[in-house]
């Protein structure tokens, strides 16, 4: 029986006067891929950013409710945010490697968290790049600037960078929307390999992608969680009419 690694209970989020997330309750199983779909502006990215508290960076945001990571509410006063973000990593919509070498990008996280030993860093860089299917392409180009890589390579580099700090959960915010179909396919393959070790939550506006890669899917609409179930059931026999409307393209 798969454990739930993240349990969200009655999560509400306000941007100033805007009630962006309304009473969300959902439990994410570990070591699997969960997709979050929904039309633009429905709050899926906002929800994702609650899970690693990246919403803290936005001024004027108010969050109430409970988001538990392995049993502990991450919005508690005594939570160590740095540890949280070590355990819950994020890959962004537009690849955002640092303007540094490939090596320094991947080593950035470990260095911050105190690893200074050259040998250990080398090992971490190699492992992470292998896990994101970049090692063969880049093993002789580690000192090259990350800005020279193609869009797909940059995104895989960002994944490697994320993996290097050793998270348990990887949040992906529309990671392929800025990439071409071939690069997208590579990343989707990557995700299948990664789910053996990591829990992946992916926000996507591409329904076909959600159907392809995920075990469970959540449908958001206007800040509310409409339906959450096995992907097969969501796409073939949705329970809620709103879900059905979205899936069949009647709107959104």
């Amino acid at each position: 029986m798969q454990k739930d690694i993240i349990e969200v209970s009655r999560l509400n989020l306000h941007y100033g006067n805007n009630h962006a997330l309304k009473d969300i309750s959902i439990s994410i199983p570990e070591k699997s891929i969960t997709a979050i779909i929904g039309p633009s502006g429905c709050g899926k990215s906002t929800f994702l950013k609650c899970l690693d508290r990246m919403n803290d960076l936005v001024p004027g945001v108010k969050v109430t409710g409970n988001v538990s990571f392995k049993g502990k509410n991450i919005y508690d006063k005594d939570i160590d945010i740095v540890e949280l973000r070590k355990n819950v990593g994020m890959v962004f919509q537009k690849p955002n490697p640092f303007p540094m070498s490939v090596y320094d990008n991947v080593a950035y996280g470990p260095r911050i968290h105190g690893i200074k030993d050259k040998a250990k860093l080398n090992e971490l860089v190699e492992t992470s790049l292998k896990q994101s299917a970049l090692w063969d392409e880049l093993k002789d180009r580690l000192r090259e600037s990350a800005m020279r890589l193609s869009g797909g390579q940059q995104q895989r580099l960002c994944i490697a960078r994320c993996l290097a700090v050793g998270p348990e959960v990887i949040l992906m915010d529309e990671p392929c929307s800025a990439l071409d179909p071939i690069a997208t396919a590579k990343i989707e393959d990557l995700m299948q390999k990664l789910k053996e070790k990591y829990t992946i939550i992916i926000v996507t506006h591409n329904m076909q992608q959600a159907a392809r890669v995920s075990e469970k899917t959540a449908y958001f609409l206007m800040g509310e969680l409409i339906e959450f179930d096995d992907t097969k059931k969501i796409f073939e026999t949705p329970k809620d009419k709103k879900t059905e409307d979205y899936i069949t393209g009647r709107f959104g």
Binding site: D80, V82, E83, G114
Partner: protein, 298 residues
């Protein structure tokens, strides 16, 4: 997260906040102290009488206030046509090539030129060599030298303002058959006007506060600048045209007198002149900001 990291984080918040606090408070401290020292001397007599009508030095500054304003306005009057014309040419007519880039480099050099260099140039060339025209140490000399100083200030603001005019607006005019100058006159300049005005006002403020140039080119006078014709056999036609060919009093020099003659100029008076000068420059600069702010909003 280990203790070292959280301690480091908290430490630097405090350090940077302290730095910012010091920097922001400096203004209040300095102006406050000057205002305090100036208080005894700030009265209507001091502000509205010309120094010539008072005994000794530094007992009144009305002539200096008027002189400062006249000098600044005249400097701007000289500088604006040249800098505006240059900005329009560089931005609208010239191609981006080595020539225009070197022109911009030269303007940058001028903008960084130490004022004393402009001052001695003004003194030797404008005041001495050009004495028949300028009347030596005079309002005219000061304004000419000052105009060179503020040229780059106005030019750069103008260039930036012109650069913000949206291409579509101009292309719309050209597409309707308008010639280049018509487009510039009717579309570009009106749109960029606020930015240009800001530059002009900044130039005004700059010339009000400048002292090195003024010392060496404008001389000093205890009289108000006055429209008059004086007899002077050393000048062409034997005439010296006031106020242009006569020396002019400025606030910056009034303040400088406090340094030059510390035993004659009362301490409070010197500070009072300083305060009036600060307020004058600040009012000028603030109005530039207000115009810029309203332009950015509208």
């Amino acid at each position: 997260m280990e203790l070292r990291r959280s301690v480091e984080e908290k430490t630097f918040i405090i350090i940077t906040a302290a730095a910012a606090a010091i920097t922001s408070l400096l203004l209040i401290l300095i102006i406050g102290k000057i205002a305090l020292e100036a208080l005894p001397a700030l009265n209507l007599y001091f502000l509205t009488t010309a120094e010539v009508d008072t005994p000794g030095y530094g007992q009144a500054i009305a002539n200096a206030v008027v002189g400062t304003i006249c000098l600044s306005l005249l400097s701007v009057a000289f500088a604006v046509p040249l800098s505006l014309g240059t900005a329009i040419y560089l931005k609208k007519y010239a191609k981006d090539n080595v020539l225009t880039r070197s022109v911009r480099f030269m303007i940058d050099i001028l903008s960084g030129m130490p004022s004393i260099v402009l001052g001695v140039f003004g003194m030797l060339f404008i005041v001495i060599y050009l004495k028949p025209i300028t009347g030596g140490l005079s309002l005219l000399s000061g304004a000419l030298a000052m105009a060179i100083l503020i040229l780059p200030v106005i030019e750069r603001s103008a260039e930036e303002a012109i650069g913000t005019v949206p291409r579509e607006l101009e292309e719309g005019s050209i597409a309707l058959g308008g010639k280049k100058w018509t487009t510039i006159r009717r579309i570009t300049i009106p749109y960029a006007l606020s930015g240009i005005m800001t530059g002009i006002i900044l130039g005004l403020g700059r010339s009000a506060e400048e002292s090195a140039i003024v010392v060496l080119t404008a001389g000093y006078s205890q009289f108000y600048p006055a429209v008059e014709v004086l007899q002077n056999s050393k000048m062409p036609f034997g005439a010296q045209l006031g106020p242009f060919q006569e020396p002019v009093g400025t606030l910056a020099i009034s303040v400088y007198h406090m340094f030059q003659f510390p035993n004659i100029v009362p301490r409070a008076n010197g500070f009072a002149a300083a305060l009036v000068l600060i307020l004058l420059v600040m009012v000028i600069n603030l109005s530039a900001r207000v115009i810029l702010w309203r332009w950015k909003i509208g």
